[in-house]
Symmetry: D2
Subunit: 353 residues, 4 copies
């Protein structure tokens, strides 16, 4: 099964890049909750293309229509379904791809999985466009989480070798970052990142990066040991975002080079609550939230669609072919992936709490 | 729910470090399959403590008893249950920990999650000991996977800053590595790693590392886009192994620094089959296996239990206390975690195929 | 969770009687299958209201729009989503019901479950109208089942005390019955049933009945013992159809009065295949299909909405009130429930095979 | 998957009639709850064989050993595992059954499902013996439900045509019935039932019956519409008890003969709470509890194992054979099934609340 996530709040995403519509069903929302749709749309616009020169010029209205689940803007206990019509699609761009798969795309694997019946247009249901309904679901979940004092924020930690500052709960307010056109803490770093992206575009190439996400306001005790820990569930959801190649919690892969005495966070009690003096554990111990901020980082690969000619192979004739991808594509999807990571985290959290 | 994994082959793990027994139920195995129990026990012995001087001297027989699911060593379609008795437990070692949580352990989070009713003895069901039944399940699954030509192997890629060679399907045969007392490709690197471990032990400290795992023989087309891709399911299972803080597939976090033209693997056709010229994608595109080896790496934190005195806080009095952990502990759990990672991968794969 | 069913082929139903639309997402369909939409619509029309004088005159076009999952009418491996717009809704009919629940309806329980935020209009997501997307899903599944030689048919066994003949694989062809305006084997019995329905309507009352369903062409070996047997899964799905109050397999409740020697079906081998001489077991032994037709019967209560004045209570003032239900309602929903039962069985079967 | 049930409190049952042991893992129990094991054993003894002359003389100690999940008799948040050793098994009784299936047993379907690898001894995992761990789980769940004021009771409503009184909350206290050797309200009816059972035994035959179950103390609002209603989940669990052929809620199949005006339960408010004047709906409206007692009835077929010679067929030679079942068997399993139905209901409820 590909499109379902969650047991408590169940998300079902459907659609293909060039089908009539894409959408999401959210089941299990509590009844009687006012959903601020303007806020949902604002969140989704952070992901939408055409926002600035760093993203694909494909114009989408992307305004979801609510088919069910709300009465006068308030949840009624029935599943909430939202659909987004697909418009401005140029399906002919993709005709030749059916036989000659694009490197680093799912064309190849989807072809064999579905015996050639996969929808190749715009990447079908493998398209990054499928993150639009994910963002809708995430935005709804975030409103419910905020009611409990839980906030989720993310920023670009790195693009093409240029680093932003790391998240620090003392110095970073994600509400400020969300308003920026480019989601970084340090705008100077952001400026350099943009240069690298522009450079890649000029060269018909693309660049990747890392997104850092923080979840604050979680009480102690969320999650389970073994298979239903915070890391299990969050990583399960995050890998639904295309182009993610890795995830790490707390110090992540850096722990490999530390001693226990360096990595262990000592406990303390101050201001009437328990805490750890450092947060190397990233807010999770034994799969369970410690009440410290949950911190994780996600590796995003460079956009596979590049303008440069690439070598591929014809799936029918078995002969090598040089491939030039037309279409319109982001030279870097990291900026648009930021809200997607937040959304996936929100959906995961709703199933943990 | 903490102890269940999978929909096709469902694993249910139970027990606590110092309860009567620990064990696992495996449901959904095909009937009529001969399970080579000697091979299962051999696999489990790679995880077992007391194997060499680098692991805890706690002696466990750890020989599972099969309660159900086999008739004359052959699966009969009923769930397979195996239990391992807990012996040689010194529960008194843990008495004071109930109130003063060990840094980087789950004592703190488990205490609050279960209002103090958690089983603190030996870490309860948060103990690394729970990976013994996981290894049993993994070993059974691996035999069924091998029938289909699928092999899973892992090695220590790094401990305390010392690197082993990276996996290369041309040069590495995991059957050779499995026989080694220390699971590395390059024995010289292994020697240096052991020195660092010994050093850490001498200092009352511990060290972490990275494990690299490879899955070969997978056909193209396994996995799904979105929520049930190879990465989603494998990462979900891998984080069940305590001390894992990160996972990356293919080039993983290194993709962040690459250009699309560098990262994209071009397709080719040779020796009668499709392949990619490089394997930066780690055998997975769009969540689906490409038939190239699936490669992933896992970050393991340094053993939290160290002999050095540490600062903690009394959960009842709220006062800081210095904590000295007695008990017996590995200065590095990476070597013993190698089969656990393989086992978790095997269990995940059984649910993907 | 209310709207999801299945693990292999997952059905997600959304909508309320008077929301913008109702619909269904079907995930897990094999790719490359031609779906005959005319046949799907024909199936759905058997459930649709306004077909004859025995059903509510509310006019609905009820023609589903396919949003995703098909390319040129062929499944592409992505989830199939179909939506049906809600038109011709007269929401004002329901205004007073919010406070004064209709007897035998879900108004009362939904009010308390959702603290008064439930969508009362037309019964919200408790409406029989939600069986339209169920029928869509069932019709799609039935086409895939028919490819494997599996057929599902149902007929009205009883309405208001009038009995149809019982199903007998030798004498009944469901294709004939499906074409009838009234789904009975014996048209004389059907005529009497209609008289009773008409009588009930004239009296402002309603009547109930029993539907018998048969599944043929199942191979031996489908289903599991304990919790995932044929009976467990079919009954789970069937109770999704509103107004169902009971289900029985084979001889059902009549077995209570039989001796073992009467009830046990003896085995035989003829025409190259195993069979039982009788089919008291209804095609299921130990939760698993025996290759004999699966037979089950479902009790349908009389339509709760009747024109007669009824006693209820005001949920706010706690005072008794006499209630007259306006709206438009079937005096007997049994005829329209026939395809719903088939559809629920089809959805269940897709998850068993 | 055969052996798992539930999402909130997950039950995993394992074992075969003649394997080393049978048992159950219960995951998701709240921590800190005292489980009265004497009470659990007392409950299980109601199901145990050898209790009186109406059940099989096979002697089992059937005392479960707790392997995990409890510390000093109190739940610790880890999965609770209990095992029961299989003793006094005479496997040779079953040798010839592998080839010649017993009528109305699962021998036939299990043989084909598992290609002859099924465990035929004592019925393997299709044995009624598997209800012992189900009763263990149910007894644990019932203690937690009772804390919330929810009680589950059942009685024999009918055996071999002899009826007990129907349940009436005003006149029946299940605590009294549980103490009886024969679970009926009216002891005179019970006496006649026993005569019929004895008669069947004398004739080498068996008889079936009906069990009625009542759940009291449920608050309004438990359950969901569509696929996760009370009826869906309870029926799913109940069909795990072997020999069940039907289930009905409230008036059940009798509603088919009623008019809406007769079947609809009018609402009222008295003694400070809402109620219905009658309880034809059996405590469930729209899948959701109404706070009235939940009432359901279950049809149990006559024991398939009878002493009389029966006709079967040899699965290898395809020739008809006359079969005489040796072994030791109940002429009526209805009395022993009473606690099993209660247990299945308890497990279902724990997943609804």
């Amino acid at each position: 099964m590909s499109c379902n996530f969650g047991e408590k709040v169940k998300i079902t995403i459907f659609g293909q890049s060039h089908s009539e519509a894409i959408g999401v069903v959210i089941d299990g929302l509590p009844a009687g909750k006012k959903i601020d749709m303007e806020k949902v749309f604002a969140f989704m616009s952070r992901r939408a293309p055409g926002r600035n020169k760093f993203s694909t010029p494909r114009q989408e209205k992307d305004k979801p229509e609510i088919l069910s689940g709300l009465v006068d803007g308030i949840t009624c206990g029935a599943p909430l379904c939202a659909v987004i019509r697909n418009e401005d699609t140029r399906s002919k761009d993709y005709e030749n791809l059916k036989k000659v798969p694009r490197p680093a795309h799912a064309d190849f694997t989807a072809f064999f999985k579905h015996n050639g019946s996969n929808d190749i247009r715009g990447g079908g249901n493998f398209s990054g466009r499928m993150t639009a309904p994910l963002c809708f679901a995430g935005a709804v979940c975030m409103q419910l989480l905020e009611e409990k004092g839980i906030k989720i924020g993310a920023h670009i930690e790195k693009i093409a070798g240029v680093y932003d500052l790391r998240y620090d709960s003392a110095n970073v307010d994600f509400e400020d970052i969300d308003k920026k056109e480019f989601s970084v803490i340090d705008d100077n770093a952001g400026e350099k990142m943009r240069e690298r992206i522009e450079e890649a575009r000029a060269n018909g190439d693309s660049v990747g990066g890392v997104i850092e996400c923080a979840i604050t306001g979680l009480p102690v005790g969320i999650g389970e040991p073994m298979f239903d820990g915070m890391e299990n569930v969050i990583s399960h959801a995050i890998f639904a975002v295309p182009a993610v190649k890795g995830i790490e919690f707390g110090l992540g892969f850096d722990v490999a080079d530390l001693k226990g005495s360096e990595n262990n966070d000592s406990f303390s009690f101050c201001d009437g609550k328990f805490a750890t003096d450092t947060n190397n554990h990233g807010g999770i111990l034994g799969g369970i939230s410690s009440s410290m901020p949950v911190i994780f980082r996600v590796a995003i690969k460079p956009t596979p669609s590049i303008a440069k000619e690439q070598k591929s192979v014809n799936l029918i004739t078995h002969e090598e072919e040089n491939l030039v991808i037309k279409g319109r594509h982001d030279p870097c999807i990291v900026p648009r992936a930021v809200p997607c990571i937040e959304a996936a985290a929100a959906v995961a959290l709703m199933n943990l709490i």
